[in-house]
Amino acid sequence: MLQHSYTHTAMSPSVPLQEMIRAIRSARTQCEERGVIQRECAAIRAQFRQADNGGRSHNLAKLLYVHMLGYPAHFGQMECVRMIASSRYSEKRVGYLGAMMLLDEKQDASLLITNSIKNDLSHSNQYVQSLALCTLACMGSAEMCRDLAPEIDRLLRASNSYIKKKAALCAVHIVRKVHELGELFAPAARSLLSEKNHGVLHGAVVLITELCERSSESLERFRKTVPDLVQIMKGLVISGYSPEHDVAGISDPFLQVRLLRLLRILGRNNETASDAMNDLLAQVATNTDSTKTVGNAVLYETVLTVLDIKSESGLRVLAVNILGRFLLNNDRNIRYIAMTSLQKIVGTDHNAVQRHRGTIVDCLKDQDASVKRRALDLSLALVSASNIRSMMKELLLFLSSCPPELRSQAANGIFTAAERYAPSKRWHIDTILHVLITAGGDVRDETVPNLIQLITNTSELHCYTVHKLYRALLSDISQQSLVQVACWCIGEYGDLLLRGDCQEVEPMQVCEDDVLDALETVLQSHMSSTATRGFALTATMKLSTRITDNVDRIRSIVSIYGSCIDLELQQRAVEYNALFKKYDHMRAAVLERMPVIERNSSGLINGDPTGEPVKEVQPSKVKTEVSLPLPQAADQTCDLLDLLSSSEQQPQSPPAAGSSILTQPLGTDCSAGRDLLDLLGGLEPTPPPTAVTVYEKDGVTLTIVCEKQSDSAMTVTLTGFNSSDCDVSSFTLQAAVPKSVQLHMKAPSGDSLPAGGAAKVTQVVLLNNPNKVNLKMRIRVSYSCRGSTVQETVQVDSFPGL
């Protein structure tokens, strides 16, 4: 069954061990195996208890095998300790192996081997020393490291190269465990650089790298070694064939890569060091054979170094071109690492990476999911105003066939890109629709309100949009976000849909029944979520003012849903019913066309963090207009409630569609995601309005600033300020105006005014004076200061800026 043919004198296999392994493997079931193992472990335990019988190493080896199968083996820990202390090499060897496998620094038993290690470090036989060094580097605890560090340092300086190379890596482990000990090894590390033995050199480079990464003083000190390192590297690159270290034509690629990495650390942020290695890097970049993986490994490291240090621009271009070549390599691994590297530099060397955009985009079609993912990241980073159209084509193509785990990232990335660089509104809307149709289930929740906002603001495309959405709805009602937007649009712009004339789409005769059929299908479909059905119901209701013939049908739909099990739908239906019955005179006003929605989140595009501080918006969200219902998805119920049950607001005569108390943001490009469309100021380029103080007492002041918004509307900003030296709290303002003037006070920014003017309170008041009466306002100020309440009333008769 088992044939071995050793081609050289290897030690004879451990027969007892192999017999046990055979026995375990021949077990046919898990249960049988457990039985065998239990018996063997019992035997091993018995053997451990016996006196030394020459078979100890075999027993421990058996235990280690059992351990590897996943069975407990802690009872072997003490045996490891004993074996390590043995004078037989075979026992030491297995003992140390056992220690590395069964003990770690967290076990108490590991402390017990410290002494053995110490002794073995100065053993006369280098193979015994080697065992100790290996074990120390594997599982040496911090105490052991502190204890044995001087010994390691001694070995670093005075021993043969076999021991030196191991001592170097031991030192690396010690430094990782006890950072301060780095100082101890620095001098020895320096001198090791003049060794010829590659193993020792490699260890020295690793040690120096570790020291430089941990301490900036070391980094400074070792920068002086750059010329030496360059020399060593040159020697490797230029040297002829060396059989000892050759790998596919590259001389010691492992050492080359470590040297390059150390050079990278030393050259980072340092002009002089970077200059000193420039030529070498150019040489390696040009001369390294890239037909095999090993050559590419060296090239890869070279590229990483060039891009990280302060290299000349020519060298950088060379490096990026190497990455570009990697992208065309047949080896998938090489393509993958090319893309991860390009991703790192796409910010800093954007133009250089752009040159390889075509190849990167091709990688979107790669079979490998890892490559696809990288290609997606990189493609999204490369989208710019100049390539948006072609890139979007590729990205949308990708979206339609990409693996499911990437869909969400792709969809959201596409939205962000579209938002930033859309060449036209129509293109933007088309793109979003395309994404919703393809991957509607994978987009973020904000997409629906964001898209609605975009559509509302693009009034010239209302007709086009509603036609497109209607058609999309007819073909597929499974994508919730798409259906929601479609319903909303049909509700809003149903009249445009029915009119049937839209230049940009194929003519299609749509009659009222068709539209209502579509909405009803959504309402009744089991695929529709509750939110979606809410959209559909509201849309149906809105159509009651936009269609002429089928109002009764709508009435009946609405009344049916009045007994719907779902609470949300029921509530809406009941309220809509009420609109039909008791409040029919208000129905037209309530269901008016929506004005432009202002952007409420500060330039945040689909959650893309811009890092800019969020400007504090008056907490209006979209509750800007007092009189009109608001389009927030699930909020329609409570807004209507507000309207129907409101007591503080006087019944409004509906302002004409398209204008309202507040001026619309003047066609501002929402898709640019620029400035916060703050209600106050920033809308007209007028000189800053003057603030008038209307109240002043004991350091607490109230100022007003007025801004005319339209013929009859204005905003008054009240600002409270506290320059006294006691804190003011519960600062509230109340305002009253003549009967015919409409007033709306928005929520204040806060109610506390800390002493010394550290912060202020602002509150915005919206006024509408349609009858143009003489405007006066009475303001009551109340607050607490020094434990007592202050209440004062002031009258404002003149409003500057009006």
Partner: protein, 154 residues
């Protein structure tokens, strides 16, 4: 540095585990499960690199064994492939056309060879010949010392 090296068969049976940082047994078992699941579910003709937590996982299949090496993020993936390959070459030289059974029945030797090639998560010796010679010399030492030790003291 390298964090761990695992060898497992196509059925997910572990043949060798080397951990370069201290870890609880429970953690090790979880990692072994994660690695075997991840690697064994990879499609053929996909690249040999994966991202797992903050580590890069390099894996390669040689006959019936998967070699799975975890490296830190600043390490060179292509070189890691070379490290795996070098270890396979060393095993091959030692056992002569190494196969999975060799590693099963002589696992302790697989470890001895590994411990001459890597140490503390870093490469210890870059020359194949030197590693081979060291192993041979240690083996010789084992034999001769055993003979020597089995002789009576007086």
């Amino acid at each position: 540095m390298m964090r761990f090296l695992l060898l497992f068969s196509r059925q997910g049976r572990l043949r060798l585990q080397k951990w370069f940082t201290p870890m609880m047994d429970r953690e090790k078992k979880k990692i072994i499960r994660d690695m075997t699941t991840m690697v064994l579910s990879r499609q053929p003709r996909t690249c040999n690199f994966m991202q797992w937590k903050d580590l890069k996982i390099i894996y390669k299949r040689y006959a019936s064994l998967y070699f799975c090496l975890a490296i830190e993020s600043q390490e060179n993936e292509l070189l890691a492939l070379e490290v795996i390959h070098r270890y396979v070459e060393l095993l091959d030289k030692y056992f002569g056309n190494v196969c999975e059974l060799d590693i099963i029945f002589n696992f302790e030797k697989a470890y001895f060879i590994l411990d001459e090639f890597l140490m503390g998560g870093e490469i210890q010796e870059t020359s194949k010949q030197i590693v081979n010679r060291s192993i041979d010399a240690s083996d010789m030492l084992q034999e001769t010392l055993e003979e020597y030790m089995s002789k009576p003291a007086f």
